[in-house]
Amino acid sequence: MLKYILKRTVQMVPTVIGVILLTFVLFNIVPNDLAAIALGKNVTLEMLENFDQQRGLNKPLFLGTRAKNRAYEDHNLADGAGRWRAWSNAVYSAATATLTIQPGAAINPLAFPLKDGEYEWTATYRGQGNLAGTELDAADWQTEKVRFQTMGEAGFATAGNPLEIKALKLRRITTNPFDSQLFFYFKQLMRGDLGFSEYFKQPVSRLLLDGIPASLSLTIPIFIIGVVVSISLSLVCAFFRNTFIDRFLVVIAVALMSINYLIYIVAGQYLLAYKQGLFPVWGYESWRYLVLPVLIGVVSGLGSNIRFYRTVMLDEMYKEYVRTAFAKGVSKPRVLFVHVLKNAMIPIITNVVIAIPFLYTGSLLLENFFGIPGLGYLGINAILSSDIDVVRALVLIGALLFVVANLLTDICYAVADPRVKLK
């Protein structure tokens, strides 16, 4: 048994790595500017750079020793003058997509003072001048890399002759090629650091811990009542198979499945809480506030659950041991509740255990509509306010819990059915 558990745990590792990589791709590679999404419009480049610094976004993606810096962002001169519009002694020509720095000028194109370290300009130029302390002199277009330290002069200076520039980019030089965004993310996760919420100005782990009790107080009752009710109803279906009751329940199940979650909430809130006044409409103060959300949660999940469990039960009903039991004269209820239910346990376990991770994320919509301060509430608000770290932590933990729940399912299988281990 222990060997089997170990084997399954090892098999889990690639999926865990996959989940971490996928969240990395989603939040570090896909958005072209995460800081801009998170901080909004009215920010300085330096604020964006600080955001990047804090989250390791100013490092190379996977591997490398050159990192971008927002003090001079990559900019194609063919698209326009960009930040060079600020200097009158730098003349931009759209026709040739070049920039001419007039004689006798001193221009520092950096948007803010650089942090300590070694940096590198890569310039394609023609003419004479000085860049970050290095003399440039070429009659024809030439590309040169100029290294400089933060302490010294970083900008351009010209004396008697103009300097023309066709392309320019700034890179920070890092010494360790493994000092990348990916490794930064891994290291952060190893430390158990889930990031920092820009919106609440609090560590994400703190927010998660605060939200879990409220989420669980909503999802655990939904989960338990839902499982009990839907398994009972599916047994009723199996008991009265192909009679009016069975067909009626199946139709009801499909109808329940086809009602949008949103409608359940809106209708429940309006009809039961507002019109009938049976429950409080909004808030989280006592258990009474939870009754309506739990009811809605149970009813909304009922349709698909009844259908699923009914199929499971009916699959078992055709097996030979059932026929044998009937032939022996065992009563129908006993066959159903003792023989069939026991053998149907495996698919039921799968369905039940797999649902556990969703207990943690809570119900995004229910919590939002009823003002229950759990993780679902946190999640929706984080998405609406682009609170990246919170969203990433919720997605990541949800996925990891799912992987663990999968492992648990397999172990439950092995306990319930010894044949599984041998495969």
Partner: protein
Amino acid sequence: MIKQGQSLWSDAWRRLKKDRIAMVCLGLVVLFTLLAVYGEVVYFYHHAKDITPAYQKINLDLAYQAPGAAHWMGTDGLGRDVMQRLVQGVRIAYKVGIITSLIAIPIGVLLGCLAGFYGGKVDDFVVWLYSTFASMPGLLFILAIAMVVPENGLLGVYLGIGLTTWVGLCRLVRGEVLKHKEQTYVQAAKALGLGSGRIMFKHILPNILHVIIVTFTLRFPAAVGTEVIMSYLGIGVQGEPSWGLMIDSARMRLWQGMWWEMTFVTLALFLLVLAFNLLGDALRDALDPRLDD
């Protein structure tokens, strides 16, 4: 009894015709499709001529009119005709259902075929990929994708739903291809020296087409439902009459007794989803020859 000259499709159609509920659902689906096409024509006409369509025209004098002869489904808070907006909602729902399918189905089918056919390393990779995607927490993951997509609006909805819903189909297709790979017609094609691509897409794929059709029919309403929730939350459609936005604006008014917008949107959404769900179930029964009478 063996019937001569009946293809799988005509056989399935014969079975489907016997199912009265399925035929009603098919009728509803056709009706909704026509409404969507009509909505697209109306939208395109106004868009091309650059005029404000009636369903966007604000007229506060007409606000909150109950259903009547002039406006069969009443008007909303800005005096816009609910029925016309509802039809535009069908258009958006269809766009979401179809475009997300165009993203998810090719990914699922291609990966599933490759994994099932080649096995080995390819299979390991595909299984790893879909296990990873399957582990992601549903709606939250979709919303997160929509959040990082640079443009707000429908693109985020398409990508969010499209890139997350290929997993189930991929798993099904892989399983089917694994089964078909061992069958004699595939062995024969291999013996004839046909290329792998040709065997996969010309020989095996037509035989598992029913899986794809049923999946399309069942994922369509799911995608529509998700879009409604996203638009309601303000992450989806903006500035166009999506059902999610209509529910959002109707929700508060409902409490003051303006029931019509909410009722009709709910009804339309329910009928669309129900029709596709029941039709999908019926198609599955009709296309699965093992259940033949």
